[in-house]
Symmetry: C2
Subunit: 175 residues, 2 copies
């Protein structure tokens, strides 16, 4: 009637543990796919990190690709991205020439890298753009050009505040 009755107890236990780990993995992938996509990262990057986050063992690229059912091209690019953010690292495994990846799980550091690499460069170029705006203002400011000067100043304050706050943000992360 019930197949599980014919399964030895130890095997049954192990199989349900496997199912549980697989559930976790799926929830984790889901979680990080969404989080990463909020940060503008492609799906595959979230999938890879999500898989590694709940993996006890470090995994080689080909296993990552096959477990996620993505191409090795995606896996390679996704791992490159994650490596550059220091979100994954590689472990040496004796007798295996593949690189084995595992997740860096200190979120404080992860966010600090993300902010430095993905946000600060934009802020820097924003400053240039604001300087250019100022050059478009007539030197001898007419009464009415006050309007433009004020708006430019607001932008300057915004970028300045961003430049201070964002790097400090990771520090505030008390996890």
């Amino acid at each position: 009637m019930n197949e599980s009755m014919t399964v030895p107890a130890n095997l049954q236990t192990e199989s349900s543990a496997v199912i549980n780990a697989r559930n976790l993995e799926l929830e984790s992938i889901d979680f990080f796919v969404r989080l990463m996509s909020m940060l503008g990262m492609p799906r595959s990057v979230g999938e890879i990190y999500g898989l590694l986050y709940f993996s006890k063992d470090s995994l080689p690229m080909d296993q990552i690709a096959s477990r996620l059912e993505i191409s090795i091209g995606s896996a390679s690019q996704g791992l490159r991205t994650l490596r550059s953010l220091k979100a994954v690292r590689t472990a040496y495994v004796a007798g295996d020439r593949r690189d084995h990846y595992f997740a860096e799980t200190e979120f404080r550091r992860l966010f600090s890298n993300f902010i430095k690499d993905e946000i600060m460069p934009h802020l820097d170029s924003a400053k240039d753009r604001i300087s250019r705006m100022e050059k478009s203002l007539p030197e001898q400011s007419h009464e009415e050009d006050e309007f433009y000067a004020v708006r430019i100043e607001k932008l300057r304050r915004l970028t300045k505040a961003g430049g201070r706050l964002l790097p400090a943000l990771a520090g505030l992360l008390k996890l």
Copy 2:
């Protein structure tokens, strides 16, 4: 030889003021297109806000569309987004039945709305997902399941920290 020599002085001045305003406008559009796209907003939304940010007069939708050379469909959708973030508001203009839009320029409020509308909902559903993860853990935790429990706890701390920090962030914005 030089055409500008034949242009009356007053007109020449006005025209260079127009050119300057146009430069500002273009830099502004560029600025906000990039900023908005960092926040995951489509190009058109940045263009519209950038145009309005340096516009002394409030503008009706059709003028926004034609000055940006985008379709009225894009303009309508973009304005809807901006309205929902309270990034633009409408002004009444006597004798004109079109809505006239102008930019809300208090960035503190804008970010606070953005965080509330675009980020907090994701954080809420992340909490559910973490609860589901915990259900995948065996009740009677084996020694080795410590690993999973710790990782889940990390996620919980991350979302908790995010839930506190992000709303506080706008408050820190001293502009």
